[in-house]
Amino acid sequence: MNAPILWMISPAVISLLLLTIQSRRIRNYTFIIVCLILVGISLFTRIDLIGTKRFYTFDISSTLTILGRSFAIFEEGKFLIQFIYGFNAIWGTSLIIFKKSERIIPLGLLFSALLIAAISVEPFLYSAFFIEIAIIMSIPLMMESGSKEISGVTRYLIFLTLSMPFILLAGWFLAGGEIIPVNPEQLVQATLLLGLGFILWLAVFPFHSWVPMIFSETDPLRSGFILLLLESAFFILILKFINGFVWLREYDVFFQASLFLGAIMSVFGSIGLVFQEKLKRLAGFELLHTIGVILLSIGLSPAGGISLFPNIFGSRILGFSLLCWSISALENSDNGIFPEDIKQVNMLSLISAACMIYSLLVLSGMPLTIGFPPMQVLYQLLAGKFSLVLILLLLSNSFLAIVAFRIIARVVKNEFEFNKLLIIGKKEIFLLTYLFLLIVIGIFPNLLLPKFQNLILGFDFLIK
């Protein structure tokens, strides 16, 4: 047994087998159980174990070779596995509760397995192939067959497919250049190609238009699941690239570009949020803002090390998940409330609105939320050298806070019907539980945030 068979091939096979099960209930529960088992196994296994073995652990090898290329999952990469399958389990539960499970369960496992394949393939430049397959197969997970509004998904397919040639050609340029670039001219060419590939992956301005469009064309639960996982994989791959090439991590222009693009995206996303009246598109613009903030944390890694990245990443994944769930709940709450504005308020819409407001506050880095501690460090690091970027980030976070307060004003303005407020269902309980946990973690961030540091354990050259 080895790690790629366990966490990459088995989930893919199970995902396809689950398709043959007719009963949706059995399929749903099996999906959740399989995800939890995969997380559980990762806690009791040691990959390429050296030294003494405890009675409750079992040893597996790290590498699987297929047609001359190898897939390797090391001990340091186990947190990523736990994150991906834990994410699948939590989002799977939300999809079941919101009755939107029919597409992502069970194929979400196959999608996740493809992302793990992309992250674990060696040489890692081949990850572009697996990303492309994941992108193509994510489209049926997000959209109904024969959907009429497909402009966003078409752009998503075009832009992300265009990124593949750039990454692969850069890979060819860099073959054998892990330690030193072949020559300075090739360094510029390879950086340009890699940069173009990354820009297309991360939907950086001006290739960003598909993100809000996809959110408006699909349910935020589906698009949120796919895009959060996909962007997470992109960021991990970018870190792997930076860690793998010594010249890239010593190339100042790369980090300056990250800072510049991060600032643009965070401001651009938040301006889009302020002027956005449609809830689903709001989630799209918030994703752009989130990508911008994470890019800023990568751009600052020469100054403060990469340790800021996992905290920013973790807090934003937690906050953005709540945003997607609350928007989906508002969109589908009884009486068709809220597609454009809040007109009537029942318990679900009230709780959903509260969750949405809280998630926006988390994402804007308000004190006493989980978004605050990493955002404070980000402010601190930016204040030292990059005051203009700091001003832009403060501006963008203020815009986010304005949106949150505007929603509070709308909710308060409405008339409450007391009878409707007494009805509490599964969705309300799910949202309230998650909201409560997020508030607790916000007050005591050390409960969860330090765990995300395990995400960067494998990137030895980036940790300072």
């Binding site: 081949y126 192939f129 040639p165």
Partner: protein
């Protein structure tokens, strides 16, 4: 030399065919001929067994595309205005002129046969034109496949690996399958 020129001419003629044809059958026929041209180009650098994987997967993809279109809602494809055809052609020619101008320089970076590089870049740029100016989802798929053929020709000249060939073939087929997924979309054709 003559064969190389012939290959370049065939590739460009196929692109022109895709750009001006009003019927999806013609466009898919043009794309199929691009796969055949691509196969002959790749045959010069790869063994026939590996090169034929690309041809077979491409033609399988074309069969999938055609099958999906046979059952699809067709909005009644009208012949495009002459100005539309002229615009598309001029756009493609503009790109080819630019590629002719820069191909020598790019050839210094990418040490592959000039014919492969020129055909590859021409196809990639034409694919970008197709996905950029044509509206229907089938045309987007055709454009993406054109880009991928162009990239395949360039990348095959740089690296020959069974895994890469297999994955690229899989990507081609998956993209073609997507066209069937959205095939009954009712487009409201706007005058271009």
């Amino acid at each position: 030399m003559i064969i190389n020129n012939l290959l370049i001419f065939s590739a460009l003629a196929s692109i022109v065919f895709i750009l001006i044809a009003s019927d999806w059958r013609m466009r898919i026929a043009g794309l199929s001929s691009l796969y055949i041209v691509g196969f002959i180009v790749i045959l010069q650098v790869w063994p026939i067994a590996l090169a034929s994987v690309k041809l077979i997967s491409g033609l399988m993809g074309m069969a999938l595309l055609s099958t999906s279109q046979l059952t699809a809602y067709q909005p009644g494809e009208s012949r495009p205005y002459p100005s539309v055809i002229v615009f598309r052609l001029l756009m493609a020619i503009l790109f080819w002129i630019i590629i002719s101008a820069v191909a020598q320089k790019i050839n210094e970076w990418l040490p592959i046969p000039y014919t492969n590089l020129f055909i590859g870049l021409s196809l990639m740029s034409s694919g970008i034109i197709i996905v950029g100016i044509m509206k229907r989802f089938i045309d987007t798929i055709i454009g993406l496949l054109t880009i991928l053929i162009g990239f395949d020709i360039i990348y095959s000249s740089l690296e020959g690996s069974a895994l890469v060939t297999g994955i690229l073939a899989l990507i081609t087929i998956l993209i073609c399958l997507l066209s069937g997924y959205f095939n009954d979309v009712n487009y409201e054709e706007e005058p271009e």
